[in-house]
């Protein structure tokens, strides 16, 4: 039986990972934490960390696990009305988050995928965005925001629209065809640096559930 057919053809044939047991390099184990199959890439050895929590020695085989997101630069929408940001996504009103205050702005528990994530600070100055998926930080990004009309699309893509002669590059939210999957948790934190976020600060996201 080939290595891949161990889990693709007959899922039950993949052994459950057991803490402390030896796993050969390139062998597969099913995580007791999330039921997913992981392949050991490190040399044959043991370990006490569940493969779902061990991205040093294992890679995910039964799903695509995103390990890092790019640090995308800001885009200037030219307006401050939140109605002109991230249309098509679920938009949440962040409002004022004080400077240097680490704030959880989104938390999802369960099994799903995020195809779009956008942040509009509605104030100039930087801020730290953290995206933590299943316990792993895949984005730790000090954004630089030039002015109160700029925003960042961190997952997915922006869609431009012309509204009342204005060109608005961040008007629409376009979900990534290969979304960021999560098996247990998807959490976003935001910490404004020296300037608080503005009253129109907005988070746009597109989350779908997976079973």
């Amino acid at each position: 039986m080939s290595a891949s057919s161990q889990f693709l053809g007959a899922g039950s044939s993949v052994s459950l990972w057991v803490s402390g047991s030896t796993v050969a390099q390139w062998d597969y184990r099913k995580s007791p934490l999330d039921g997913e199959v992981y392949q050991r890439t490190a040399a044959t050895g043991g370990g006490t960390t569940d493969p779902a929590n061990d991205n040093t020695n294992y890679v995910a085989s039964s799903y695509v696990r995103t390990s890092s997101l790019p640090q995308r630069s800001e885009m200037d929408n030219g307006v401050v009305n939140p109605s002109n940001f991230f249309n098509g996504s679920v938009r949440s009103a962040l409002g004022v988050i004080n400077a240097a205050t680490r704030t959880q702005i989104l938390s999802v528990s369960g099994r799903g995928a995020c195809g779009f994530l956008g942040l509009f600070k509605h104030a100039s100055g930087g801020g730290l965005v953290e995206v933590i998926v299943d316990g792993f930080t895949i984005l730790n990004y000090n954004t630089s925001t030039a002015n109160s009309t700029s925003g960042h699309v961190l997952i997915g893509a922006p869609g431009e629209a012309i509204v009342s002669t204005l060109s608005l590059p961040l008007y629409a939210a376009i979900a990534d065809g290969s979304p960021v999957q999560f098996r247990r948790t998807f959490v976003v934190w935001y910490t404004p640096a020296t300037n608080a976020s503005g009253s129109n600060a907005t988070l746009g996201y597109d989350i779908k559930a997976l079973r």
Partner: protein, 93 residues
């Protein structure tokens, strides 16, 4: 900031309050219609008014009344119709 719980497809999502849609004001709607008409006819205001003025000068030179000019110059009549439509919208700004 207080997060709100929403259950969705087996997920528990904790999120800030949802942004309420803000409808366009009457002025913004009128501006959007003007933009749409001008794009449709590729006839921005400065070009439209210049062509109308030229046609009216020519009509005056030929001693046409405004009503005669509308009949004799169909392009002018079309321009005047678009211009009147946009003028009505401009009045709403």
């Amino acid at each position: 900031m207080e997060l709100i719980n929403t259950e969705f497809g087996g997920l528990l999502i904790q999120h800030p309050p949802i942004v309420q849609s803000v409808p366009l004001t009457a002025s913004e709607q009128a501006q959007a219609q003007i933009d749409a008409l001008e794009r449709q006819y590729l006839m921005p205001r400065v070009v439209r008014e210049s062509l109308i003025a030229q046609a009216e000068e020519r009509g005056a030179a030929l001693r046409y009344t405004p009503a005669q000019l509308l009949v004799k110059n169909k392009g002018y009549a079309g321009l005047k119709a678009i211009d009147a439509q946009i003028a009505a919208l401009r009045a709403q700004l």
